[in-house]
């Protein structure tokens, strides 16, 4: 792994730990983390797509997210992208980076939400800036695999 990514990973850990310590009362509160992700996603996508050809349709944007965007950040592309062509997309990452440092299996499954919400926000922010309003949720059954569900809100 490149050195800069190590630093990014540690920073992510610290943010998770910090948001955790802040939200002791409601243990499942990951909205702060999600929001940090959103803010980053919203900003970074604008810089990335500056010189990019215009996307023709929704699916193109999702593909961009799964290939170029994902591989710049997580060093690998999304393993699989599925859609029902009615605004629901599911991204499969079988080796999600932020979960790869946690022991495999389901022993620590309860902590998984904290480690995926930043990325949920990141996706939501990126799509928001591309003009897609959506809800992003994540699903972890067995670490380090992770699924991200994207539900586009039709206006």
């Amino acid at each position: 792994m490149a050195s800069q990514d190590v630093l990014f990973e540690f920073l992510h850990h610290e943010i998770v730990a910090y948001c955790n310590s802040k939200s002791k009362k409601e243990k499942e509160d990951v909205s702060e983390l999600e929001y940090i992700g959103f803010a980053c996603g919203y900003r970074i996508i604008e810089r990335l797509t500056k010189d990019w050809p215009r996307f023709k349709e929704e699916l193109d944007m999702l593909k961009f997210l799964c290939t170029d965007f994902w591989s710049s950040i997580y060093q690998r592309q999304v393993d699989n992208l599925r859609t029902n062509h009615q605004g629901v997309y599911v991204l499969f990452d079988n080796e999600f980076r932020f979960l790869s440092r946690i022991s495999e299996g389901n022993q620590y499954l309860e902590f998984a939400p904290q480690y995926v919400s930043y990325t949920c926000g990141l996706i939501r922010g990126a799509l928001a800036n591309l003009g897609i309003t959506c809800i992003v949720t994540a699903e972890v059954h067995l670490m380090p695999a992770c699924r991200f569900h994207i539900q586009v809100q039709k206006s």
């Binding site: 990514d5 802040k22 980053c40 970074i44 710049s72 699989n80």
Partner: protein, 178 residues
Amino acid sequence: MARQTTKLDTKKVSAELFTLTYGALVTRLLKDYENIDDVNKQLERMGYNIGIRLIEDFLAKTNCGRCYDFRDTAEKIQLAFRTYLGVFPQVSNWSAANDEFSLLFDNNPLTEFVELPDHCLNLKYSNIFAGILRGACEMVQMEVTSWFVQDQLKGDNITELRIKFIKKLEDAIPVGED
């Protein structure tokens, strides 16, 4: 998903995302704490936590041996900045006793997209560096402290981080080792 190559500059993207994420964190902290000094402290603490882990990665990657004097350490710190952030700080302004030096940054990757608003002038935006250095050095039995003397965010020409050696942490060495 057949296409493997990307037109994006991967390195630059992850560096920018790092910068943005750090910025979002600082913004969050500013909202959570009323007192800016507390924000500085919290950033330092987070840096410390990163530092104590980062040193291990650094030693594994660079194969660095023991430092013979503080000048040696300074070089290693400089190397660490180059490895992890891609910046080349200059080492200068040594004190007469060789226990204090400055790192001069022409550009600071953390502050690339940042402007400080007027009510945040006390904020040590990059204070995470101070924490990282303290944490990393502590793990190799050195107590150091560091602080910003000049900061481009506050209108100075360069960013200057001053690092001071305090003492060798003898007690931290496990029994039976030199």
